[in-house]
């Protein structure tokens, strides 16, 4: 996954003349888009079975978990289905990500990094 991303970053830098930081963002978005589409076509879970953690850490797994949960709960309606269950798997990652970011920010400010 890392190699593909690095390749994408370099490709975007070469073709569109982005800075490295911009190119990283676009590469990330590309990977998320591709993952979501593969999940929607029902391919990604078969790939995960073969690639295991190499394929799902970190952004792809996140995108895959959200896309799959959304697809799964589509039939239960927009509010009680998709709305309340889209973050069923990814919710923990978001919540604790925000909490961790908060504490590390405070730590950063205190230590003047």
């Amino acid at each position: 996954m890392g190699i593909i991303s690095e390749g994408l970053i370099n490709l975007y830098m070469m073709i569109f003349g982005y800075s490295r930081a911009d190119s990283m963002g676009v590469a990330c978005l590309t990977i998320i888009l591709v993952t979501c589409m593969l999940t929607a076509f029902g391919v990604f879970d078969n790939l995960v079975e073969k690639g295991k953690c190499g394929l799902i850490i970190p952004t792809t797994g996140f995108a895959h978990s959200m896309a799959s949960a959304t697809m799964d709960y589509k039939k239960d309606g927009f509010i009680k289905g998709i709305g309340s269950n889209a973050f069923k798997l990814a919710g923990s990652a978001i919540l604790y990500g925000v909490v961790a970011a908060f504490f590390f920010c405070i730590l950063g400010v205190l230590l003047n990094v």
């Binding site: 879970d45 895959h64 896309a67 799959s68 949960a69 798997l89």
Partner: protein, 325 residues
């Protein structure tokens, strides 16, 4: 006494629907198979209810029975509030009893049906059970498309529905006895290792049944366990030998007899439909088997209590069937 003997209860006709993976597996002799998981419905839960309704309909048509000829409809499934069975039962004007014992639902419903017939309170009873791989996956595990990888001890819920008619009129298959098992909890928390959770309950029920019936395991042509899986059935044999001091040689596990190795279904199938599916499609088709003991094994867990760090209780119920020649 946890065992009950029956003298005038017979197994009449049966109807089996198998899912797409079961269709491509080891079993044949299905009455009907599905090519997809939806089965003319929009959701998996509705498809499971449709399957059951179709089974009941076909049981009635095959025997030319009217709804009024059936005294009770007894059944259950894996979903919350046994909704598949309740939603299929609403299509028929038959008094309905819902039972739940996870994957041991089939022997439990046979026990109830047989008791009603034995006590002259019923003539014909339909016992039904079903499970659906993807509706169970949604409820117990992760969203379907997430395709979470599992350890090799895990089992996959089988898809299908099976219904049988129990009757008072003499047929070739007699229900001889049934044993209701105790709930046993050995302190295991791993939901991906159901075989280990259920094996002790299974061993206890087999032992109790043999004790009560004053028989040995070798008196049966086959002991068909529910859905212990490839790992669980070995645990059962080892555990039985260690605790009860005798060997179980003629055990076949229903869960491990459904899928081919190439289908990559981890330790095999699970779900309440495994046991009756293999019983009807394999064991009853084989003229070699006359004395059959079926032991349904159910792991009575719910994701809520597993998240609350509780251990998994399990139960096993046994039914003795004799094929009369």
């Amino acid at each position: 006494m946890s065992s009950v003997r029956f003298n005038k209860v017979y197994l009449d006709s049966h109807f089996v629907i198998g899912g797409p993976k079961e269709k491509n597996g080891k079993l044949d002799n299905f009455d009907l198979t599905m090519d997809d998981y939806y089965f003319h419905a929009k959701t998996f839960e509705k498809s499971e209810a449709n399957m059951q309704a179709l089974v009941i309909e076909n049981l009635l048509i095959n025997k030319k029975y009217k709804e009024s000829d059936i005294d009770f409809l007894i059944g259950g499934d894996l979903l919350n509030q046994i909704c598949a069975t309740s939603y299929s039962a609403r299509n028929f004007k038959i008094p309905f009893i819902g039972v739940y014992a996870a994957c041991a639902t089939f022997p439990l419903s046979i026990f109830h049906g047989a008791s009603l017939i034995e006590s002259d309170n019923a003539q014909n009873v339909i016992c039904i059970t079903s499970s659906h791989g993807l509706s169970a996956e949604r409820q117990y595990r992760y969203p379907v498309e997430y395709g979470n990888t599992k350890p090799n001890t895990a089992t996959c819920t089988a898809t299908g529905a099976v219904g049988v008619i129990l009757t008072k009129q003499k047929t070739k298959m007699q229900i001889k006895a049934a044993t209701i098992g105790k709930t046993i909890d050995m302190g295991i928390k791993d939901v991906n290792h159901m075989g280990a959770v259920m094996a002790p309950a299974c061993a206890d029920t087999i032992y109790t049944h043999l004790q009560n019936m004053k028989k040995r395991a070798t008196d049966y042509d086959v002991i068909l366990t529910g859905d212990l899986g490839k790992v669980g059935v070995n645990i059962l044999k080892e555990y039985y030998e260690k605790v009860y001091g005798s060997k179980l040689l003629n055990v076949i596990d229903a869960g491990s007899s459904i899928y081919l190795e190439s289908q990559n279904m981890y330790a095999g199938g699970s779900g309440p439909v495994c046991l009756p599916m293999v019983l009807v499609c394999k064991i009853l088709q084989n003229p070699r088997y006359h004395k059959i003991l079926i032991v349904g094994t159910g792991s009575l867990h719910t994701p809520v209590l597993i998240n609350q760090n509780e251990t998994i209780p399990s139960v096993a119920h046994a039914v003795e069937i004799e094929v009369l020649s």
